[in-house]
């Protein structure tokens, strides 16, 4: 699998994502600068990493959406390439319109960093096929604005179409997200955005390996 990690100004989980990708896929991902015009042609997976792109100014992800490389990311998403947005990357995806809804300030109005229990609610997709449906996993969250919001109709549709992939386990919702939503797919199921950090749980020394199966799913899907 060939992957690329987009580096926005003040992305700060770009290295974390690259380390996890290399560890699991055996290939170093291409690090693509936000001002570049293109993602390398043969890229299978594009990761939009966590961080504070453009200082989170105005709204998280609002400025990053306008960066040059995003034009190509949007194009590649439409072509069916796989896009994974983690944390700030998820925010960029909603701001770009690649995923519905929006991520608002955490209900408790504080940044929150801790391991959180999640339920993998959906495994019929390239990102989570190596998990069992209903499986409980623990990924850390680290964000100030992860409160997923969408109108009821959109939420119903996401649920009805099996596009809610991760939910915070009962009682563990760290940010007030609607219907405990932690991660969602787009309609074509090639774009996943999630607030928790799978790339931070790929090494047993760092408190778990629950994130590995996501990358293994992708390898299995792409070959």
């Amino acid at each position: 699998m060939k992957s690329a990690v987009v580096v926005f100004p003040a992305s700060n989980c770009d290295r974390d994502a690259a380390v996890a990708l290399e560890q699991i896929t055996g290939n170093k991902p291409a690090m693509v600068w936000h001002a570049d015009s293109e993602i390398p042609k043969d890229t299978d997976l594009i990761v939009l990493p966590g961080g504070f792109s453009y200082g989170d100014y105005l709204r998280c992800g609002a400025m990053a959406r306008l960066s040059r490389v995003m034009q190509d990311v949007i194009k590649k998403a439409q072509e069916g390439r796989l896009i994974l947005g983690i944390c700030n990357g998820f925010q960029v995806l909603t701001e770009s319109g690649l995923l519905p809804g929006a991520l608002m300030r955490n209900a408790a109005l504080k940044f929150v960093c801790k391991p959180v229990g999640l339920t993998v609610t959906e495994t019929q997709n390239v990102f989570t096929r190596r998990y069992d449906a209903g499986q409980r996993v623990v990924f850390p969250v680290a964000h100030g604005e992860g409160n997923y919001v969408a109108d009821a109709e959109t939420l119903d549709r996401l649920e009805g179409e099996g596009r809610v992939v991760f939910r915070y386990a009962p009682g563990e919702n760290p940010n007030g997200s609607a219907r405990d939503i932690a991660g969602i797919l787009n309609e074509k199921r090639n774009v996943l955005g999630l607030m928790p950090h799978p790339e931070r749980v790929c090494d047993p020394l760092l408190g778990g390996t629950d994130g590995r199966a996501m990358f293994e799913s992708l390898i299995e899907a792409v070959g």
Binding site: A62, E95, L109, V149, A150
Partner: protein, 84 residues
């Protein structure tokens, strides 16, 4: 100096979108003893200097800025105020 326009853009959450920040402020004000404070909503104020004389044009431009960047219309609405 040029004849310029100054715009104030107010970006607020749509009705129906929960505003925990506003609620927290209201709560804090009540706790501080401001009993008459009812609902509180928090939004953004963006002040923009425009090198443009034509009000109608300016307004159209600002609307476009809001749609394209300043507001996330999934959750926010906006209001534009212009003065010379």
């Amino acid at each position: 100096m040029e004849c310029e326009l100054k715009a104030r853009v107010f970006v607020t959450l749509k009705n129906g979108v929960l505003d925990p920040q506003g609620k927290a402020i209201g709560h804090a004000l009540n706790n501080l003893g401001f009993a008459s404070v009812g609902a509180v909503r928090q939004g953004k104020l963006i002040e923009i200097e425009l090198d443009e004389r034509d009000e109608a044009k300016a307004r159209a431009g600002l609307r476009e800025m809001c749609e394209k960047l300043l507001a996330n219309t999934v959750i926010e609405k906006y209001e534009i105020e212009l003065k010379a």
